[in-house]
Symmetry: D2
Subunit: 159 residues, 4 copies
Amino acid sequence: MSEFSPQLPTSAIAPDRTLNAKTETWFEYPVKIYPHHTDHAGIVWHGTYLKWLEEARIEYFRSIGVNYADLVNLGCEMPVVELSLRYHRAIRLDHHEVLIKTVLKMDGVRLNWDYQIVSLDGQELYVTAQVTLVGIDAKKGKIMRQLPPDITDAITRKT
Amino acid sequence: MSEFSPQLPTSAIAPDRTLNAKTETWFEYPVKIYPHHTDHAGIVWHGTYLKWLEEARIEYFRSIGVNYADLVNLGCEMPVVELSLRYHRAIRLDHHEVLIKTVLKMDGVRLNWDYQIVSLDGQELYVTAQVTLVGIDAKKGKIMRQLPPDITDAITRKT
Amino acid sequence: MSEFSPQLPTSAIAPDRTLNAKTETWFEYPVKIYPHHTDHAGIVWHGTYLKWLEEARIEYFRSIGVNYADLVNLGCEMPVVELSLRYHRAIRLDHHEVLIKTVLKMDGVRLNWDYQIVSLDGQELYVTAQVTLVGIDAKKGKIMRQLPPDITDAITRKT
Amino acid sequence: MSEFSPQLPTSAIAPDRTLNAKTETWFEYPVKIYPHHTDHAGIVWHGTYLKWLEEARIEYFRSIGVNYADLVNLGCEMPVVELSLRYHRAIRLDHHEVLIKTVLKMDGVRLNWDYQIVSLDGQELYVTAQVTLVGIDAKKGKIMRQLPPDITDAITRKT
């Protein structure tokens, strides 16, 4: 297992699927590794993962028919309000490509995402993460009372 | 307080200062806000904070006489193995400058950093974070049994 | 394949023995636009383009059977030694996706890339760019006298 | 001399100082080198320089009493419309700190910046660059007929 952090939180690798508003299966988003992702140690710089997690969220939205840029144009922003990452193994340039896996749980105006970053064959676990977004009314600058129905309907249909 | 996340974890805003290997006071590192830090919502992109936290760690090391690049040249890498952030308030381009405050606790080969990102006058809290590094022997690719004495001595002297 | 992992249109590259070492047609690499690409003005930050140009180069190499990470492992680095960009139109988040087009001309150990960044339908031109790489022997830290034959053969076959 | 590109353009290293709207001396902005600036080759990633050039521009503005964020709030954006860089020598993490030097020439609504990135003692030249900004009226989305008087006055006083 990992040389960095051998104990994986069970909840991260086997998320609870009994809750209602949770996607049943992991959404998968592959990313290729480029020099601009790496640092002097020859591995992916730790902050790069946040870009990949963001991309996976937006592609998940796209997969259920929600276009993030359209939401923004309608005045709905979804900033990150909390995140945590655990690095299990380093990713090197010559790993070529990895898989971002995510599962979404909606909790009112909060969207909670569980993540795993794994090798394409699923045998190596590199990173586990949790990210929480909250819906903001951009005009008022305040948390929304509820997310736009288009999003909640799309998420609910898929979970 | 924050419109995003009103309840702050007490441990983050009043870290325990009774432990031995912990700096007594916050180390402060000011950063200016540039367009490349921001995103389409007009605020600092959430991943930008990881750059600032990294810079603050390296400047902390410099302040106690440890040069991070020298460590690297000696074969000691210190990758991030865990991190968590909570976003309390957005930082905009016209906030001009903020303060990264950090306090370090050494736990064997693990370095645990508590962070606050605040306004220059200390009145606004934007982000709280915790980051854990672990010392790696770059040649062996394994966790060190102990950190180089130069580091531990320097940290101990300051805590 | 996943729609999120675009197939590279290798078929777009037609053999041409008349031009010196220049691909006859543009290699095309689509990129999606994410919040981390943008800045406070709501448009793609100007430095983001360098990431996309790098990705397009590596995908071009992959399309002709050259794996960039393998080159690096063999001690061949290809740093950028010159670049120029001209920004014709801003790219916004709600442009969703654009096309990076590139054509390569080999000049000894120098690789000269011409670029256009255009809309998917080719009707809008956002950016034009030129980038020059040079082959470096990483061990010696010096410019190579000639590129590895695997690369030159692969490039010549495709041009 | 440079191993990458020994011939420096004379105009870049000895810019013409006879023109009117040109600062007489180089504005200097020091930057420290952090892991997030580097790539797998152990050197500063080529796109990182664009961040430093941006920071130097904003600090130059600040030095003549112009606050960039205030300009933005007044509806004046200054996007980059052209840039070119020549890389003379690589910058490594253990170079610790380098100097961004810039000289500004105003040409109507166009601001032309010449740059050198050098070692702190001025003996090593790493990068030369030219960047052109143009003033945009953000509301109209059009190039301004003339820059706001506050900027032109401040620039003229200093040149």
